[in-house]
Amino acid sequence: MSDETVAVDSADYWPEGSEDVDEGIVANWFVRAGTRVEEGETLCEMQVEKVSVDVPAPAGGEVSEILVDEGDDFTRGDPLARIRSA
């Protein structure tokens, strides 16, 4: 068994109809660094223009790093967090 780190890729959850937009914000985090999550659990809510999307955990494990703070902007494809799956 080895630890593997999985990035939460914002592009994977981009809302339909927003293909021509490249900027988003993180409206809310529901976990912190250190929180243990199951695969599919909601990690955060991102907004692209005014469309809100819940971002699920791509893998189970421990949130090792939050990369975009609540209220901050990001560009499509930026990783939002990393999860260390054990």
Partner: protein, 340 residues
């Protein structure tokens, strides 16, 4: 006591905590339903019903035409007929167009019918300013709703309390006005302060009405407040702690019933009372708390200050609104002034 959030715990915004409670009660009881303007397809303009339509469909999550009189009246009727409606009044400011339904029917029909009907209805409404929406969309009107006998009045300040109070509101056989502050909901376009997002248990739990919560313990002054200003008071208390002033912060959580005992107990300890309210200064929450405290604990009271919205229509312009809406510094100054 306050709910502390630890790193390992998942957190929810206040809106999601409210939705979680509503969804749970809807699964448990087919008589519970929600109606209001833009609460179905849009999910509530402040996210108070976000996601409910997908699970429960349009029969139980109903958008209604813009007629507060008709849909609040329909809610009262449904409640009297045995259902448990949750009716959203989009902005508390709009209560005026449905005042007869709220003040005379919702609040009084239990009494007027000699108890032959009850009105187990929740009137859920958005309150408060700080986002430049001007005089007709920024009021809290806590005093207006708490003034009239017959309705219970709930004002949560964080996600943990919002869920427990919502469970209790829906289960209560009396009409409940559930007033949520827009700034606390966790909206992307209206960022919340630190604090309203908390750990929230998955399982249902009810927070009884009439139990204030000491959000911070202190010895030097009692700060009594509610809603958004709980967080401003806590921030002021942190600032004051650095100066050696130890403020206690009491979150009323419900105005009707009002936990006078919690206020009196704290004032007997500190001797100094500061009441902070986002509603207007005159004929409101601040005056009521001060009056009750003087009636019961005059001998223990050394100094009193009120911090509230002045008696003016709330301005649209940002610098003017910031001037009238009590800020962290206003609270801190008031606590300093009662130390003298």
């Amino acid at each position: 006591m306050s709910q502390e959030t630890h790193a390992e715990e998942r957190e929810l915004t206040m809106s999601r905590a409210m939705v979680g409670a509503i969804a749970h009660e809807m699964r448990e009881d087919d008589e519970v339903f929600v109606m209001g303007e833009d609460i179905a397809d849009y999910g509530g303009i402040f996210d108070s019903t976000e996601g409910l339509l997908e699970e429960f469909g349009h029969d139980r999550i109903m958008d209604v035409p813009i007629s507060e009189t008709s849909f609040i009246g329909a809610g009262v009727g449904a409640a009297q007929a045995g259902m448990r409606p949750i009716v959203e009044l989009m902005f508390a400011d709009f209560f005026g167009v449905a005042m007869d339904q709220i003040y005379n029917n919702m609040a009084k029909n239990t009494y007027m019918s000699g108890g032959s009907v009850s009105v187990p209805m929740v009137l859920m409404t958005a309150v408060g300013g700080t986002y430049n929406d001007a005089a007709q969309h920024s009021q809290t009107l806590y005093g207006t709703f708490a003034h009239l006998p017959g309705m219970k009045v709930v004002v949560p300040s964080n996600a943990y309390d919002a869920k427990g109070l919502m469970h209790n509101a829906i289960r209560d056989d009396d009409p409940v006005v559930y007033m949520f502050h827009k700034r606390l909901m966790g909206l992307g376009w209206m960022p919340a302060p630190e604090g309203p997002k908390t750990g929230v248990p998955d399982e249902p739990y009810a927070i009884p009405f009439g139990e204030a919560d000491v959000k911070r313990e202190g010895e030097d002054a009692t700060v009594v407040t509610l809603g958004l200003h709980v967080h401003r008071a806590l921030e002021a208390a942190e600032e004051l702690a650095a100066e050696g002033i130890d403020a206690e912060v009491i979150d009323l959580r419900t105005l009707v019933p009002l936990d006078t005992d919690a206020v009196i107990e704290s004032v007997r300890k500190t001797g100094r009372l500061v009441v902070v309210d986002e509603d207007y200064r005159s004929f409101g929450v601040t005056g009521e708390i001060v009056a009750r405290t003087t009636e019961e604990a005059l001998g223990d009271l050394h100094a009193v200050r009120r911090v509230a919205m002045p008696d003016v229509p709330i301005p649209y312009a940002r610098p003017l609104e910031n001037e009238v809406n009590p800020g962290v510094e206003d609270v801190a100054d008031a606590v300093r002034s009662v130390q003298e």
